[in-house]
């Protein structure tokens, strides 16, 4: 057997293991439901979700078209907020790195704001924008922009000085140092920062959506609560996790992997 197929084989086996593990959890969950609700009547059926119930909710929400509308709306909103965060955060991070005054004084402030859980921005946001799209997007921006700013600051700051020195002695201007050296050198760390920024944005988005009335995953979650439908609540929670992971994996993880592999860092 060649090395390559061997490697692919172990990868396949790993995947299979993960799948089996997940299946095991679902089976356990169903068993727990069966014993706790049906057999011992320890929980009321409305207080305990079950895999079968979640599956039914899934089918119902897909058939009514609610689910995909909700996912689409949330993703669009999240993306808009995230992109604004990226634009704002990277510029702020760059400025904080470039001007010692800002590094000294602005950075602690930004770090302080960053520790505020994004849900705390919701009341403020609603007072400003009402129960609107803008209110949610504002929460998303507040939840992720500052973490992106700090990550950008760090990424630029951590560029090995030898790269700058080498470029300077080859005649680079200050502008060329930024465009041809720092921008590229900081990229792996910057991407990691953006990835983290996305996970903050996604969480902030859900805090915002739960508190307002715009169509989206958060809203579908609240509808589930209002209908006392714990299966729908569970389903939407699972969907929120899956969408978050999916964006993380298909977009950021693969981008990261490509850059790391190209530079021999992986």
């Amino acid at each position: 057997m060649t090395r390559k197929t061997k490697k692919e084989n172990t990868k396949f086996i790993k995947l299979l293991q993960q799948l089996l593990f997940l299946l095991g959890i679902v089976a356990l969950w169903q068993l727990l439901y069966f014993v706790g609700v049906d057999l011992l009547e320890f929980w009321k059926p409305y207080a305990m979700p079950s895999p079968a119930g979640v599956w039914k909710s899934l089918v119902r929400l897909i058939e009514s078209g609610t689910l995909f509308t909700a996912i689409g709306n949330s993703l669009l909103r999240g993306m808009i907020g995230f992109l604004i965060s990226v634009a704002f955060g990277t510029v702020l991070g760059f400025l904080m790195e470039h001007f010692p005054f800002l590094h000294q004084n602005m950075r602690p402030f930004v770090m302080g704001v960053q520790t505020l859980p994004s849900v705390c921005w919701v009341p403020f946001s609603i007072l400003w924008f009402g129960l609107s799209e803008q209110a949610i997007i504002f929460v998303v921006i507040m939840g992720s922009a500052f973490s992106i700013a700090i990550a950008t600051d760090n990424a630029i700051h951590n560029v090995p000085p030898i790269y700058k020195k080498a470029a300077l002695t080859m005649g680079a201007s200050q502008k060329q140092i930024y465009r041809k050296v720092i921008l590229h050198a900081c990229l792996p760390e910057l991407i990691s920062g953006l990835k983290q920024g996305w996970s903050f944005a996604w969480r902030a988005l859900m805090s915002g959506e739960v508190m307002t009335t715009c169509i989206g995953l958060g809203q579908t979650l609240i509808t589930g609560r209002n209908l006392a439908d714990i299966n729908q609540v569970m389903l939407v929670m699972i969907i929120i996790v899956l969408v978050g992971i999916l964006i993380d994996q298909i977009f950021f993880r693969s981008l990261e992997r490509r850059i790391y592999r190209k530079r021999g860092l992986a």
Partner: protein, 246 residues
């Protein structure tokens, strides 16, 4: 080209260290100058001063009569670590300096290939940096430095991170290149053997009142052989200079 150091002293403010003291030195066009001395005696600092990466505390450094204001492509540096850019492949790295200077693409390509061939690396032009051995990386770094036709080439222990065999091969290659091109080279090494092998003049730095302890012209024909009697004699003499306690 002429490089003149007039009574150059460098004191680092944070440590209060006089890293370089009262250096008077002239480096002539086409000369190969090697600098040896104990660790911490100020070799790299002297090179950084010439490169313009550091400013002298007192004294002045004149390149063709004009004081050095900062780093520039007329004084390319080759470092102990290769300082190649991992986001560029081999030939892109070699072209980097020319690209900064706005050299036309066609000329960039030709010159890059010329120096890669000189370094026997033409076949590796599209390799990523991490796919090269340590010796190959330093050869790419040398090719990159040579493309700029700088007035002086500053090298800070460029081969000292390599194994003995590789560094011996590289210094022979450097000697060949120097004999072909007669570039002006300012070369730091901690190996006295390497200095005697390469240099027209060996500058011995020390921790004494004046940094320059001695300057030894090497009157040996090139190519040189490390087992020649005269070579061994130079080596012994300079080594005892370096090890002298002041």
């Amino acid at each position: 080209m002429s490089l003149l150091l007039k009574n150059v002293t460098k004191t680092f403010q944070d440590s209060g260290q006089d890293a370089v003291r009262n250096v008077d030195l002239e480096i002539r066009d086409g000369e190969f100058v090697c600098v040896v001395g104990k660790s911490g005696c100020g070799k790299s600092t002297l090179l950084n001063l010439i490169a313009g990466l550091e400013k002298p505390t007192s004294g002045e450094i004149l390149l063709d009569g004009a004081p050095i204001k900062g780093p520039g492509a007329d004084r390319v540096v080759m470092f102990q670590e290769h300082a190649l850019f991992p986001w560029l492949n081999v030939i892109q790295n070699v072209k980097f300096g020319m690209e900064l200077a706005g050299v036309p693409r066609q000329e960039q390509e030709e010159k890059a290939m010329k120096y890669l061939e000189l370094m026997q690396l033409a076949d590796y032009r599209n390799y990523a940096i991490h796919q090269l051995s340590g010796g190959m990386r330093q050869r790419v770094a040398l090719a990159r430095a040579l493309t700029l036709d700088s007035k002086i080439l500053l090298m800070d222990e460029p081969f000292s991170a390599l194994d003995k065999q590789t560094s011996n091969r590289l210094r022979a290659e450097l000697q060949d290149i120097w004999m072909q091109t007669r570039r002006t080279i300012f070369f730091i090494t901690h190996s006295v053997e390497e200095a005697v092998y390469l240099a027209d003049r060996v500058i011995v730095l020390s921790n004494g009142k004046d940094s320059v302890q001695d300057i030894v012209p090497i009157a040996l024909e090139r190519p040189r052989h490390v087992y020649d009697e005269a070579f061994v004699e130079y080596r012994r003499r300079i080594l005892s200079e370096v090890q002298k306690e002041l």
